[in-house]
Symmetry: C2
Subunit: 480 residues, 2 copies
């Protein structure tokens, strides 16, 4: 009996360039012994960024609760006779603060990390997330704008939250989601998979990837003209792939626009710590007491944590009663969807807890934490600056926007006839080992050419490869 040859057409036509042909070619080159540098993805620890010691100390204790007593005994014996431990320093011992936090965590969760949790994630972690959001946004007890732990879901990275939200929002093939162009391809992939319509809006590159109302109106008019019902709009701030930090005025335009059209805002704020001096304005703070449905996303993968592999993240909902028109309890449907997956992984949940409760001043983990955080963010800023400087020596290459996130997204204004940014990135890889992603992988504005580079390789490696890139570039664009 002959079977249908078809599989789900939405999944079959879905695209995801960040792990597409260029990184696949890089893997082949690396297997052949060539030096390749993975700048195609924001994966800091793969390029040598060290994890935050405090987080790892606590995770390690949570994995092995039986080691708490042993660590305390070790600390006691070490204090009495440090010389016996040849080469081990006091800093190599687990901090008292990590011991106290692990102890408290396990008091709240006696079964430890091995059990399924509530589908939404552990209640005390969701409360800690709510407190973090309130503190970040300067929300006090009495102004009625506090985050609600019952509207927070802990997820396997922010990606899982995005897929869940979009899967639920898309009710039929004419439902649409507005996304910035260029965008992180998770969004186009999720919309494609859910069988909905992607409606692009185009931040103004030459003005530093900012937004004006006319940009949003133009996208909405286009959607309406083709019969698409827009239900939500995605904003990524700081942005991926452009790295640009959205100015407060642009963010305000988004909120006004969403209110006027009854849209939910999906605010991807996973790079909220990657600012390098710029100001971050959360969408929660801009929405304030207005009845605008908001999903805001955060993650343990970015910032200075870089714990990508752990798949820790959360989404906070505001005004869920208004989502999708208000006749459905959106939060209940999200909960049901989460229940089928049982719960987000507990290591990721624990990391979210640590992210929202950094070691306070005065404890023995604080100074080291602050130093490690500073070193990582400072080094990222330095590396972004090195790359931007190299851009100045590349013909016909321009990079806009205030540096944020982990990416630069320069425009290639000069390419040999018939060559695309994909060709350029593939040649760049073959010639220098630098693995980047072509702008077309992010759905760039028609007629433009770009690339995205994650500014993560060690500075010494950048200093070595940037001159090679400059030479490659100026040869390539001149057809040499």
């Amino acid at each position: 009996m002959a079977l249908s040859t078809r599989v789900n057409k939405n999944i079959a036509r879905m695209e995801y360039a960040v792990r597409g042909p260029i990184p696949q070619r890089a893997a082949e080159l690396a297997a052949g012994g060539l030096r390749t540098i993975a700048c195609n993805i924001g994966n800091p620890q793969a390029l040598g960024q060290k994890p935050i010691t405090y987080c790892r100390e606590v995770l390690s204790l949570l994995d092995a609760p039986f080691s708490l007593d042993r660590e305390r005994a070790l600390r006691r014996v070490f204090t009495l006779q440090p010389a016996a431990f040849e080469g081990i320093k006091i800093d190599d011992l687990v901090s008292e603060h990590a011991l106290a936090v692990a102890d408290e965590f396990l008091t709240r969760l006696p079964s430890g990390l091995g059990a399924y949790t509530e589908s939404k994630g552990l209640a005390f972690i969701r409360q800690a997330v709510a407190d973090f959001i309130d503190k970040r946004d300067g929300v006090t007890e009495d102004n009625g704008l506090r985050a609600d732990p019952e509207l927070i879901f802990l997820t396997n990275g922010a990606s899982e939250a995005v897929r869940s939200i979009i899967d639920i929002l898309i009710a039929d093939p004419t439902d649409g989601i507005m996304i910035p162009i260029p965008q992180y391809p998770l969004y186009s992939a999720a919309i494609c998979r859910a069988g909905g319509e992607q409606v692009g809006y185009y931040p103004d590159e030459d003005a530093g990837w900012t937004l004006e109302r006319s940009i949003l109106d133009e996208a909405m008019a286009r959607a309406m003209a083709r019969g698409v019902k827009v239900k939500a709009m995605v904003v990524i701030n700081p942005a991926n792939p452009t790295g640009a930090v959205l100015p407060r005025e642009s963010a305000r335009e988004v909120v006004d626009f969403a209110e006027e059209y009854g849209l939910a805002i999906i605010a991807d704020e996973v790079y909220q710590e990657n600012l390098y001096g710029a100001e971050f304005v959360s969408f929660a703070s801009l929405v304030g007491d207005r009845d605008i449905p908001l999903f805001s996303l955060h993650s343990t993968s970015k910032g200075f944590y870089g714990e990508c592999g752990r798949r820790g993240g959360y989404v906070e909902l505001r005004n869920p009663a208004n989502i999708a028109g208000g006749n459905t309890n959106f939060c209940d449907i999200m909960l049901k969807q989460a229940s089928v997956s049982l719960c987000a992984n507990t290591t990721g949940q624990a990391l979210v807890y640590l992210m929202v409760r950094p070691p306070p001043e005065g404890c023995d983990a604080h100074d080291r934490f602050v130093r490690e955080r500073y070193d990582i963010l400072d080094s990222l800023h330095h590396k972004a600056t090195l790359i931007r400087r190299a851009f100045d020596e590349m013909e016909g290459l321009k990079c806009f926007g205030r540096t944020g996130a982990l990416y630069l997204f320069p425009r290639l204004e000069k390419l040999p006839p018939g060559k695309t940014d994909f060709d350029y990135c593939m040649s760049l890889l073959e010639n220098t080992g630098l693995c980047t992603v072509n702008g077309s992988g992010f759905g760039q504005k028609s007629g433009t050419q770009h690339l995205r580079i994650a500014f993560l390789p060690p500075a010494e490696l950048l200093e070595q490869v940037l001159p090679e890139w400059i030479a490659f570039h100026n040869d390539y664009v001149n057809g040499r």
Copy 2:
């Protein structure tokens, strides 16, 4: 402007009883201070099952690679002067084998657990999984039936694999998946969400939940009569919710049937260690060299590990060229789908590695590992036996099948007029604190009534509550 009020109808109508109204009521009772016993879900560590020490030792070291040297120094100093460590015993130290395994792991993966991995999961772990499968099934180098690491995907628990497979398989609303009735509601939920058709087949309860060819033929005829194109069939062995272990002859019927109709087999084998003396026959071994597409699933959540919260699991594909008719590269589509989520969480991946490579004889972690494994499995068997014995004292209650997995699924043959198994389970909860799931939550055969109980509570607690259940039962069924 008015928005559509609709959300995705498939997700809105999806059901998931394991975390439905009865467990929700249990949470309310618990919040009110009542003793409740969570037998609604296979979540062993929540009910006091201890994690395997060896696994936790290695995870703890992988989280804190900087502690490897410290642990070695500690071991050295301890050996010289154990008395200084007041109360700490040599067994409280990390085993030498755990240190060696962590060292080797980090040599293969110098960036550690914080980086995204390949979308399929770390290559050396997939190789270890392939070796495990071959060893389990007695496959040798030269018979051409070895598992292929490139056809193994590491996933966030087996649940994620199931959703991914079903999402891809369902191409249109007349595509169907055969599932056993009763079934684990993940399957009905995944099929519903993907917008496909569920085709139930009915293992013979009175014959111990076994299968004969006529049962499968009947289901296929029913599907064809209503225009459903069956693409795959799910087998859960040992079964959830019935706990029954499928005899070899029944499994052979499935393989012959799948071959004849060109179906893929989705073999949920996550309870393959939960046998209590019964024989486990893998579908990979039964498929052998026949060209039958097979997905086999395994997990770190069950067995004697019980690491549910970690979300570790894998799926192995066989004969993917024949899946969905052979014109599509199913494995490539699965890879693309995995890429969008970036990778499965690394703690779960590491646990899969530890599961497929238990400590070998002769190392210092072996004896303790074997003892802990024995104690857990023996205790599970003992608890299942206690409950089955209590069943003998309950009027009109019968339990079929060889005990396996973590569940018993007795049939309630005597209920007061108008009462359903849902009513029974809710009353059982209110009266004794025992939280079970009604059989209707698993889609039982029309006209029958059941409940599922996970045999996980500590034996002392069972010995206390079982007499209460017997008394409740005999009162309830007699309308007292």
